[in-house]
Every structure is written in structure tokens, then in C-alpha cells.
Symmetry: C2
Subunit: 236 residues, 2 copies
């Protein structure tokens, strides 16, 4: 299996970086090929802009997704994007490894999503959800956060974590057709003991060693909707 | 009323920019003070990093929120952040004006949130949700998207738009204590006629002229939870 880990944390010694290193070691130990995109170390540019296209379909008015389609077709997309896109297309499993910032991804990782998941390849027209351009691949989100576990879930103060992660899990990873595995979450990380961190590392290793047994999350399928994307069997 | 509009679109002639201009004109016409942060025009840096702090509480290990608290206290936070923070603290109403990228904010705007909503001022400890540091202020999200309205809602292919916007509406704006007004949404924008765009502009103007009549969205209140943030009256 080919694995791409996209890592986004500003502190190289962070626990989030330890999760990344453990994933590299564990997955290589199982015989998988692993590449890492360490966005802070790469000084990744997260800002989608006109500069992303060497040639423009419409130089007078930027429609970003339209230029992505042309750029991907003509290989005229910026080199930093093309490199990441090549890694993504190579991968069978994508791991997004990051600390929660405002119940979502840090901007540097959001900008990897904005720029690398190009229209025309990853999605476009009726190619989304189970028909998405990256179907056949798997995705795992591994994340750290400051909150305690009891602050998430039904009736808890922040509600279910999966609901906060909906734009990533459903709106991004499932949207481009990937099979999305349940997230791995390390809770309350800035405040816990070294032993508690070791427990999370052991749990993550065990999880990585048994990924094949994971039940992916369930999302809409296009066959449940008509040609105009109205739901079929609305009252069934 | 003081109004800060944070605008994030890579195309200066975009319809999203027309929404921004209309808001400036309409709100000034009503006698309000308006400032605009045009993130693309400002070449805003969205990447939270160690460079954001002139002096470090802990130079050997970056805990971003901790350094924010110290930096805000000592006024040693980066000048570009301090300028935006000053605008935010001046404002009675914050408008986030952007096109939906991956069911959430473009990275450049996510990085405004990551860097400007500093710990110790906007939130911290038990100061969040209705006790957040920005309580007393209002927030409005005005956005454009490619999808059609019938693709959102209960039973629709993408589910309710508010669920996709949860990390912004609840996890960010409500979290820092702002009163969050229902979003203004312009649907299917890249594909609609000039007349349909005019209709959206008229609807937005009417909305802006009657903001005082809006019913804010409802979110958790800390009084519903105990000292450890477990829910009270779990079975009530």
C-alpha cells in the first residue's frame, strides 16, 4: 500500500509530530511505502490564487475551479501543487495529521485542500461522493486537541466531534470519493502526562496495524438522488 | 455601529466582492462606521507560526495559544495580527464575506481566524460560548457557493448548510461569545444570470437594512453545564 501523510503543526517537537513519526515507522514496518508532506517544513503556500496557473483559460476573470480543470489537463498548474497532486494520486491511503484549530484544520492544511484537490481530477460534474475522482482510496484523519473527551458527544457542550469535522470528513474526503475511516483522536494533549501520551501512541499504533478491520463512515451515494440531485424515495 | 467586513476572494471583480461593496455602501448609508479587511488585497499571511511573537514565553517549544496569551498581554504579537485584532475589538458587528471552498472558508480566511482570535482576549479558560471574550458583538456570515439550494437541507445530498458551517458558526463565532445571525447565502453563483445576481444583491441589501430584526442562532450556554463542563439536568 502507498501512504501519503500530510502533516501540519508549527512545532517540530509536538506530540502531533510524534503521531506522524509513529505512523511512518509502523506503516513502513508493515511493508507499505510512505511519503510525508510536512507542510510547515515545506513552507507550503496555502493561498489559492491566480498565481497557481502558468496559463489562464480566462486571464481577465479568475474562476479558480475552472482554471484548475484547464491547468490539470494541460499540466500548467503550479509546480508545488502538481507535486502534491502526484503524491496524492500515488497514494492508496491519505492520512491528514494535525492539531484542531477552531474545530477544523489549521489554515496551512486547509490551503493544501483548497489547492491540491483540483477540479477535473478529484471531482467535477457528477463525480463526487461515491462517484468522486479519488474513489478506491482511503482516508484517515489523525488529530490532537485541547478539549476533554466528555466535552464532545450527544448532549455534550460541543456536540459530537464528527459533526464539527463534517466539512473535512464528508465535505472534502468523502466528497472526492475516498473511503473515510473513523478519525483517530488524542484528547486534551497539552495538559496530559507523559504516560497518557504513551497510551495514545500505543492506541494509534494498534489502530494503524489493524486498519483493514475498520468500518468506514457512511455517506450519501449518488444513486439515492435523481439527475438533478433531488432525493429519490423521499417518503420511503 | 462599528462594522468590520473581512473579505476573502481571489478575484477582485467577483460577485462576492459586489456583496462586500454593497454592504459597505448600505451600512454607511445607515450612518454606521465600516472598515474592510480585504485579505487577498492585503496579501494576508494565514499561517500561524512562531514568527507571530516578538518575544516567546517558551522559545524552545511552541504552544501557539499560550504564546498568544502572553503576546496579547505584552503587546508583543506580530503587527499584522495586532492591527486586525484592534479592528475586531473596535467592531460591534463582524461580517465574514467569502466563497465556500470545501464547505468552509478559504485558507486565507481560516488563517485570519487562527491568528487574530487570540487566546486570552477572545476566549480562554471558562470564557467561551455565552461567556466568550467577544460577547456583546454580533457576527454575520455572507457567502457565495456553487451548489443549488435544493442540494442542502434535511434529506438533501449535502445535508443542511448550517451543519457544514458548524465549525465557523458554532465552533468559532459563537465560541468567542458573538451573537451569530443566520448566514446570508447566494446559491449557484457561477452559473446564474445577471438578473438572478441582482436579485441576490437586492435581498442582501434588504437583509442588511433590517439586521436588528434578525433572530440570532441558538447555541449552548455555560450555565447548562457543571464546573467540569458535564451537562446539568441530563435527563430533564
Amino acid at each position: 500500500m502507498n501512504v501519503l501523510i500530510v502533516h501540519a503543526h508549527p512545532e517540530p517537537q509536538s506530540f502531533t509530530a510524534a503521531l506522524r513519526d509513529l505512523a511512518v515507522e509502523t506503516l513502513r514496518g508493515q511493508g507499505h511505502q510512505v511519503q510525508v508532506s510536512d507542510l510547515y517544513a515545506m513552507n507550503w503556500n496555502p493561498v489559492a490564487s491566480a498565481d497557481d496557473f502558468a496559463a489562464r483559460e480566462n486571464p481577465d476573470y479568475l474562476v479558480y475551479a475552472l482554471e484548475q480543470r484547464e491547468g490539470a489537463k494541460n499540466q500548467s498548474i503550479a509546480a508545488d501543487i502538481q507535486q502534491e497532486l502526484d503524491k496524492l494520486l500515488w497514494a492508496d491511503l491519505l492520512i491528514l495529521n494535525f492539531p484542531i484549530y477552531w474545530f477544523s484544520a489549521p489554515a496551512i492544511l486547509k490551503g493544501w485542500i483548497d489547492r491540491v484537490l483540483v477540479s477535473g481530477i478529484c471531482y467535477g460534474g457528477k463525480r463526487f461522493y461515491d462517484q468522486g475522482g479519488l474513489r478506491g482510496k482511503q482516508a484517515l484523519v489523525s488529530l490532537t486537541l485541547g478539549g476533554r473527551e466528555h466535552m464532545f458527544g450527544e448532549g455534550a457542550i460541543h456536540g459530537p466531534l464528527e459533526d464539527m469535522l463534517r466539512p473535512i470528513l464528508r465535505g472534502t474526503l468523502a466528497y472526492v470519493g475516498m473511503e473515510v475511516l473513523p478519525p483517530f483522536v488524542a484528547w486534551h494533549v497539552p495538559y496530559i502526562s507523559a504516560e497518557a501520551r504513551e497510551d495514545f501512541l500505543r492506541a494509534y499504533q494498534a489502530r494503524l496495524e489493524t486498519l483493514g478491520q475498520d468500518q468506514p463512515l457512511q455517506f450519501p451515494r449518488l444513486e439515492q438522488f435523481d439527475d438533478r440531485l433531488y432525493p429519490l424515495n423521499r417518503n420511503a
